[in-house]
Symmetry: D5
Subunit: 153 residues, 10 copies
C-alpha cells in the first residue's frame, strides 16, 4: 500500500527524547529553534500538542530525525499523558495533591474575583521557572488561562 | 462531660462562609485582618490549613462567630477537600486536566532545570490573580514550591 | 448567630420540584416567567446553574416559595448532578453510551472542520425538542458550544 | 488454513485514516462516495458501525485499499471507542461533563415533554455542524433519537 | 409551605413491603388487583417503574396505605435498584455472571438471527416462572425485548 | 520439546469464527453437527464451555480446522467473556441494565415463589429466539436454572 | 399505620450482639439453644441467613429480646456482609489473599478431581475449629460445598 | 551475555501444564514424585510458591522439561494469581462470595474462640478433597492456619 | 432493654481526643498511665487495637470519661482507619508513596536476607521518634515485625 | 539513526537481576562496590532511583553488563514500582495494611511531636535489618524522613 513508515505519537516521543539527549539539546534550545515557548515545545514533544508544518520540520532538522516524525508531530493527539487516573510518580502526584487540598479554595477565590465561570485549560499557557533561594531553589509555575464565564441562555 | 460545643471542620467552614456572605467580607479583607495571604486564608477557611490562635481569634471576631469555631480552625486537618478522586466540577476538573495533559512535560522540564527531585506541595505557596485583557480577563495562578532533590544514601 | 434558614442546593431543588408539581407549572412556564430558556431554567432548578437576583426572586414568587430558596439559587454550585461516575438510569446512560460509541467520531469530525481545539461546555447552550413522527416521536437535542482553539504559545 | 489476511477493526481504522490523509479526502467526500451521512461514515471508519457490502467496496476503491478492509468494515463491531470509562482527552471529556452537569435536567425535560421513557441511542442520528460567529465559530451538534416509552405490561 | 408528606421512592417501597407482608399479599394478588403483570408490579413497588393514577390508587387501597404513597408511585424514578456496580447478593450476582459468561454468545447469536442491533431493555417484558422438576424445581425467566436495528443514516 | 502447536482459547475462537464465516455456517448448523443446542455451542466457540472429545472433533471436521483447535475446545476455560466489569457494547450493556433495574424485583419474586435460595447459573440453560411481530420482531431469551435452596446446617 | 417497630437486619445484628455480650452467651450456646450449627447461627445473627420462625423465637427468648427482632431474623437478606469490595480488616483480608494466591490452584485441582463445574457456595456448610499446637494454636476452617457440574445442553 | 534462556513464571506454568497433560500426570503423582502435598505442588506450578532445588529438579525430570524451568520454579514469586480484583470465573468467584457472605461470621467466631488476632495465610496449609455423596459429590476444602495474636506493646 | 449507652469505636475516639485536648494530655502521658507504648496507645485510641480491662479503666479514669468508653475500648475492632483506598491526606499518602516506590526493593532485600516469607503486620511493633538535626528535624519510624517464612507442605 | 541499543528501565532491571544471580552477588556487595547504601542500591536497580555516572559504570563493570545499561540507570525514572493500586503480593500488601491500620495513629503522633507538617518521602532514607530472636527472627525497617512543616503564607 504505502511505503512510508507510520510513526505513532509514542514512538515519536521516544525517538525525539533519545536524539535530544544525544545532541545534548535542551527544551530551551529546541523551543528557540522552532520559535515557540519551551513548555509548549515540551508538550508537543510529549505528544500533547499539535505542531505546524514549519515547526515540525525545524525540529526534525535540528535533531537529525526522520521526516515521518515531522508528520507525527502534526497529528492532533488523543490527549492525556498519564497511565493512571491517580498518578504515582511523586513529582506528578504533587499536582494531584495540590488540586485535592487547594481545589475548593481555588474555586472560591476565582468565583469571588471573576463570578461564575472557569479558568480555561485550552486558552491556556504555562511557565516553569527556577527561582534561586538561599534555603533551596524554588520551582515557580505560572498558569495563565482565559476566564470563561458560565453562559446563561 | 463537657459543655463546649464540638465544631467539626466542615461545620466551621459552613458557618464562616455564611457569616462572610452576610457581612459581605472578601477573602482579601479577612486575610488582611488576620495578617495572612488571601489564598492561604481561604484554604484555612476551607478546612485545609491550621490557623494559629491569634489568627483564629481575629477571624471569629471579625465575623462575629463563636469561639468554638476558633478552636476548630486551630485543629490540624485531615486534608483533601474533594469528594471524588476525579472531580466533576468543571472549574476544579480543569486542574486535573492540566495535570493529565501537561504532567509529563512538567516532569521533563523540572528535571532538566533542577535534576532529580520534586516541587514540594508542603513548602509551597500559591497566588491567584486577575489579569485584565481586551479579549477576556485571564486567571493567573502562580505556584511556588521548594525544589526537593531526591535523596541518595 | 443567624436566624435565617440555610437552604442547601439539594433542599432547594427538592422544594422547587414539589411546588412546581403542585402548581402544575412546566419548565416552559417557569422559564418564561424568569426570562430564560427552559433548559437553562431546569439546570438552575437542578442546582447546576447560578441565577441572578431578579430571576431567583421571580421564581420563588411564581411558586410561592421562601426567600431562603432564592438565596440558594444565587449561590454558585459545585457542579455535577449525578451520583455515579457511570450513570445507571437508562435515560441518562444513553448519553454516556453516545459518548462511548461516537466519541472518537465527534473528535475526528470536529478536528477536520475546525482544527485542533474543543467544543466549550461553558460557553454552551442546549435545546431539547419534540419532533413528531408517524413511527414514533423523536427527541431532538441541539448542543451549541463555542469552538475553542487549543492555544499555542 | 486460509491465505486471506484477517484485518481487525483497529487495523482497518488505522489504515483507512492513513489513506484518507494521503489522499486528502474529507469525511464529507467519503460519505458522498458511499452515499451516507458524514457522521455515520466517520463512526463506521472508527469501527463503531457496520457497513453494507456496497458501501465498504466503494470506500476501499475510493481510497485504494485492500479488499480485506472491506470485509472488516462489514463485521458487526464490539462497540465502545474509548479506552477509559472517564475519558481524559479534553474534547471528548466535555461530553462527559455535559452529561454530569445537565444529565438530570435532560431527564426532567424529556419526561415532562414525552412522559416516562428514553431517547434511543440506537434509532439515533447525529449531525455536527460549524456555525460561524463573529465572537468565534460554534460547534453545533444535533442528536435525534426516537423516543421509546418505557413499556408497562 | 405544604402539609402533605413527601414520600421518597425508598420510603414507599419499604412501607408497601411491610403492608404486603402484614396482609400476606403476594405479588400475584397485587398485580391482579391493579390489572398488571406480577413482575412489572414488583418493579413498580421496588421503585423502578411508574404507575398510572388508577393503578397506584388501587394499590394503596388494597394495602390500606396512605395517599402520599400513591403519589410517590406515580413519579418517574431515577432507575437503578442496586447499591453496587457489581452486586454481591448471590441471587442477583448470578445474573451478572450470566452476562459475563454468556454475553459474547448472546451478542453473536442475536446478530446472526437479526443483524446489527440490540434487544431493547425499554420495550421489554419479563416473566418469572416455577417449573417443577423431580431433581429440583427450576426458575424459568423469559425476557422479551423488541429488536432495535442499529440505525444507519 | 513438543512440536504440537499450543492454541489458546482466544486463538481458537478467532479461527473458528473465521472458518464459520467462510463456510457460511450458522450456529444452528454447527450445533446440529455436534449434537448440542446452538446457544451452548456458541458459548463453547466463544471459549466459555468445555467440549467433549467427540464434539470437538466433529466441529473441526465440519469447519476444516486443525486438530490443535479440537484440543483447545476440550480445555476447561477461565470463564468471563468480557473485557470490562461494566460492558460498553450496547447489546451486552442492556443485560447489565436489566440486572440493575429489575434485580431487586427478580430477587423478591423468586423468594416469594421458591423461598430462600438462588437460580443456578451452572445448572442452567438458555434459549434465544426470534419472535416475529408486526411492530418489529422481538428477541426472546429464556433462562432456565435449577433453584438451589440456601442450605441451613 | 402500624405500631410494630420495623427492625432492619443491621439493627437486629447490633442488638443481638449487645445482648449476647451482656448475657455472656457464646455462639455455641446460642446454636445449641436453637438447634443449629454455630457458624450458621453466627451468619444468621450477622444478617446473612434466614431463620425459621421457631429458631428466631428461641433466640429472642434466650437473649430476652423483642419479638420484632425475631421478625427481622426471618427476613431473607440482601447478602454481602462487607463494606468494601477488597476488605481492609486483616482477619478478613487474609481470605481475600488466599483466594488471590491459591485461586488458580483450587480451580486446577477441583477440575482435575471432579471435571468442569464449581463448588457451590449455596449448598454449602462451614466449620471453624481450634486445633491446639505447641508452636501456637491453629485455626482450622472446613468448607464443604456440593460439586455442581457445569451443564451442557 | 548469557546463553541460558530466561523463563518467566508464566512461561514455566504454561509449559509444565502442557507437559503434565501430555504425560497424563496428575497433581497427586507430581506431588508424590517431589515429596510434597498436591495442593502446595499445584500452587508452585501455578507460580505462587517457591520450590527448593531438589524439588524443582525432580519435577523437570519427571515431565522431561528444560532445566531453565527448574530455575524458574526456585524464584520467589510476586504472588497473586488472578487478573482481576474481583474474579469473574464462577469457580473462583464462589470463594469471593463466601468471604463476602461469611466474612463477618468468621471474624466473630475466630475472635470468640481465640481472642484478638488473625488466621495466618503464610503459616498455612490447604487440603482439597472429594467426598462422595448420593445426592452429588462434595468438595471439601480444609484451611489450616496458625493463629497469630495481635501484638500489644 | 438496656439502659447502658452503646458507644461505637468512632464515638469513643472522638470523645477521648476531645478530653485529651482539654486536659492537655499527650500520648506519652496516657501511655505511661496505662503501661503501654505510646504508638500502641494511640492506635487503641484511634479504634485500631483492643485494650484489656485494666488498661481501658485507667484511661477513662485519667481522662474523666464515662465507663461506656472503657467498654468500647475493649471491643475487638473492624480494623482499617482510612476512608479511602488511596489516602489523600499528604502525611498519610507519603506512606502509600513509599510502598509504591520502594515496595519491590523491600521485597527483594527481605527475600535476600530471610528467604521466602513476609514481615508480619500482626506480630509487629512500631516506634515514632524525633531526631533533631541542624537542617531540620527528622521523623524516624521503626517498624519491627516477625519474619514469617512461607510454609511449604 | 542511532546504533546504540535503547534499554528501558524494565529491561535494565531484568538484566541486572539475572547477572546478579549468576554472579551470586548480594545487594550489600553491589552497594559496597558503588559506594551506596544497599536499600538505595536496590531501589536504583529496581528502576526507582537515578544513579550517577560513576555509580552506574561501577555496577555494569562489577556484573559484566553492557554500557547501555549504565545509561539506563542514569535516567530519571517515572516512579512507581507496583502494577496495582492495592498490591496483592503478601509481603508488599502488609505495608499497605500497616498504613490502613496505623495511618491515623502515625498522623496523630507526628503532629503531636512536630506540629503541622509531614515526613518527607523524598528527603528520606530507609534501612532494612535482620534482628535475630529466639522466637523467630524479626525484620526491622527504619524510615528516616525530614520533617517538612506545612508552610503558611
Amino acid at each position: 500500500m504505502n511505503s512510508k513508515e507510520i510513526v505513532t505519537k509514542e514512538m515519536a516521543t521516544e525517538r525525539i527524547l533519545l536524539a535530544k539527549k544525544e545532541k545534548n539539546a535542551t527544551f530551551d534550545e529546541i523551543a528557540e529553534a522552532i520559535g515557540r515557548h519551551p513548555v509548549w515545545t515540551a508538550s508537543a514533544i510529549m505528544g500533547q500538542a499539535t505542531m505546524g508544518e514549519a515547526e515540525a520540520k525545524k525540529l526534525v532538522e535540528l535533531l537529525d530525525l526522520d521526516e515521518s516524525i515531522a508528520d507525527s508531530l502534526q497529528e492532533i493527539p488523543y490527549r492525556g499523558s498519564l497511565d493512571e487516573s491517580i498518578p504515582v510518580d511523586p513529582l506528578i502526584y504533587r499536582f494531584y495533591e495540590i488540586m485535592q487540598v487547594y481545589g475548593t479554595s481555588m474555586k472560591s477565590i476565582i468565583h469571588e474575583k471573576f463570578g461564575d465561570g472557569i479558568m480555561s485549560a485550552i486558552d491556556f499557557t504555562m511557565d516553569i521557572d527556577k527561582k534561586e533561594h538561599p534555603d533551596g531553589d524554588r520551582v515557580v509555575i505560572t498558569m495563565d488561562g482565559k476566564f470563561l464565564p458560565t453562559k446563561k441562555w
